[in-house]
Amino acid sequence: MTSVYISGLGLLPIDRHYDKSLTQLALEASREALDSAGEYDIDTIIIASNYSTLLQRLSMLASLVAEELVPKGLQVFNVENGGVSGLTAVHLARALIKSGLSRNVLVIGVDKQSDYPQSIVNQTSLTQVNYEYHGIMGVSLASLYALSASLYLSKHQLNEEDLALWPVVMHENAVDVPHAQFKSKITVQNVLQSDYISAPIRVLHAHAQADGASAVLLSSNKKESTIATVEASHVVSGKVEYELNEDPLHIEPVEKAVKTVLMQASLDKNLIGLIEVLDMYSIGGPLLLESSGIIPKGETLKRLKEGRFKLGDSVAINLSGGIKGRGFVEGATGVYQIAETVAFLSGYRGYKQQYTDYALAIGVGGLSSVAAVVLVKRI
């Protein structure tokens, strides 16, 4: 049975990099990963990016990056899968390695949002709903998450203050994360005083425009630089219109993906001590964690209030700072999530360390269009 080793990481600071192009960011993250990995003969490059075609008008970014890294030519893929582009790219890399079609795969996640004003970014989010209906109607992803937040808060008798705790904790977590976009603390007051994006979601629940790139080197060869393995992974499609789910608050594909991954690894969920979850608009955190079955329904924010899920807890969640603290770079985020789980498992380059063997990266595209889960194990 071929193992999938993780031997190199690249994590660029998330910021508005006006002076760097998509290609440049991808190359920088790649060089970081390759430097830390050492001698690896890359035979495959997979780029995870949501908007390189729509915003930077580059539909074949993988080729642009490949020709500078490995001029002789290699397998190249461009993966676009909403918020799980990065995790999907890792899943794809794992499949290629386990099949023997690849040996050393460089997975790069990259996106740039700062090349256009916010109104354009708002428009691009219409591509992640069913454009022909909700896109034409102007019902953006933010508004769908907002409706979910309303349903969630009223169902579990919580209020805006309870939800505001999530970004506060995320900012706290990001303080000591070198690549995080925001390293300053915020208060519940700050959150509640920020303007609405889509009520009840406010500016401080949501990510800010950002650019970034992250890279991981996956291989069938274990070397000295190897720090983790990809134990299992799965991608499952769901309903694009989340309101068609039996329970709009239960994201079915997340439940299925987590179940499958745990089965693949024959792992009890209680052995997972570290989770990076895609916490879109803050409400994504509780929704995904509870849909996955890892936390009981309605419990996430309550436990957060009790001080749970910090570094050292039986399960640490979003030590990266999540989409609010670390930042959200569209298609790149999934690769950041993998690089982060590895970094926090191993204490790589002075990153804080969570003492556990297993970490889970969970994400969704849209609200319930697709879910992806990757299980990482420390070496």
Binding site: Q118, S119, I120, N122, Q123, L126, N130, Y131, E132, Y133, H134, I136, M137, G138, V139, S140, A142, S143, L144, A146, L147, S150, L151, S154, D195, Y196, I197, S198, A199, P200, I201, K239, E241, E243, L244, E246, P248
Partner: protein, 133 residues
């Protein structure tokens, strides 16, 4: 400079004008927008389903983060509605008093503009919901 497609809208115009969904003959559930197979049981035995003009508001939001060509409509009120057998998310309109937007209120479907493509391009029309006075 015209930006909106003709045929992307034209293909779904009837669905947007009437909220035409599908009803599954196997499990009896209805859904919108119309899919080729039932999202609940997977059957392809589907027939047209038109919801009633009136329904109920379940939850609502008001969206500030819009794009420039919808800036005249900001904030866009959006609601999760129960219309007959359909559970749908639709824009809301004629919201002059947010205080009246409570879960459970009655709403009715009205035809309105979704968006215009500047002064020269197409106008996309479709159904929205408004609270029944």
């Amino acid at each position: 400079m015209a930006k909106l497609s003709i045929s992307i809208f034209w293909r779904v115009r009837k669905h947007l004008y009437t909220l035409e969904g599908r009803k599954c003959l196997e499990c009896g559930r209805a859904h919108f927008p119309p899919k080729n197979s039932c999202p609940y049981c997977g059957s392809t035995k589907l027939v047209e389903y038109y919801p009633p003009k009136k329904g109920k508001l379940l939850v609502w939001t008001k969206l500030y983060e819009t794009c420039d060509d919808r800036s005249a409509y900001r904030p866009i009120y959006i609601g999760l509605l129960q219309l007959g057998e359909l559970r749908v998310v639709l824009p809301l309109t004629d919201i002059y008093d947010e205080g009246k937007l409570k879960p459970g209120i009655d709403v009715e479907l009205v035809l309105r503009r979704y968006v215009e493509d500047s002064d020269t391009g197409l106008i996309y029309y479709g159904l929205k919901a408004r609270p029944i006075l």
